[in-house]
């Protein structure tokens, strides 16, 4: 069964550094998402992406964040200058063809020190 994959599973970075989180959505899906979950809190929407552009973004998704689909398979989330409060689990998801279910990747745990 096709699945969403994410790399790395865990990334440790220093405050102020740039990080790129990578996702490979399911191949025939068209809508892609990033969500964030700070430890012990709920899952929060960051951004959705369709037809090579952002379709919606939350207040969290400020100028420090960007997304890209560079090669038709990968979907990346870049954080330009990480802050301590960016430490969280980041989930990528893609929307199935029936548009009734989002499929989640296993997540990337980002630790900013």
């Amino acid at each position: 069964e096709p699945e969403v994959t994410q790399t790395p599973s865990h990334q440790v970075t220093q405050m102020g550094q740039e990080v790129i989180l990578r996702c490979v959505p399911i191949s025939n899906h068209l809508y892609f998402y990033w969500y964030r979950q700070i430890l012990g809190q709920k899952v929060e929407f960051l951004v959705s992406f369709y037809n090579n552009e952002i379709s919606e973004k939350s207040e969290i998704f400020d100028d420090q964040f960007s997304v890209e689909r560079p090669d038709g398979s990968n979907f990346t989330l870049k954080i330009r200058s990480t802050k301590l409060e960016d430490s969280a689990m980041y989930f990528c998801a893609s929307l199935g063809q029936a548009k009734d279910e989002q499929y989640f990747g296993p997540g990337t745990r980002l630790t900013v020190t």
């Binding site: 998402y33 009734d100 989640f104 296993p106």
Partner: protein
């Protein structure tokens, strides 16, 4: 704006017993989906069950069933014959059926199944 509320931060149940997790939501939309996700300690998001708002029949997946009350905007999850492996965080979520809408999650309920 849509909101999702889970009023039970923690619950516990004895193995083999039945437990119900509560969820309410607020929306002015008529066409949407509701979900329950399970998040074990690995933090993977696992879909447990899905309900389409236009369907009156409550969704069922093996030991998991929902009580969907559209007028009351309530969407509870019932777990029958609870198993130790059901121990996890459970999130209720809403998705507007607008061709690619985002998921909006509740705060979660931490369920412990005791032997």
């Amino acid at each position: 704006a849509q909101t999702v509320t889970q009023s039970q931060p923690e619950m516990s149940v004895q193995e083999a017993e039945t437990v119900t997790l509560s969820c309410t939501y607020d929306t002015s939309e008529n066409n949407y989906y509701l979900f329950w996700y399970k998040q074990p300690p690995s933090r993977q998001m696992i879909l447990v069950i899905r309900q389409e708002a236009y369907k009156q029949q409550n969704a069922t997946e093996n030991r998991f069933s929902v009580n969907f009350q559209k007028a009351a905007k309530s969407f509870s999850l019932k777990i029958s014959d609870s198993q130790l492996g059901d121990t996890a965080m459970y999130f209720c979520a809403f998705m507007w059926n607008n061709q690619g809408g985002k998921l909006i999650f509740g705060q979660g309920t931490e369920l412990s199944v005791k032997p």
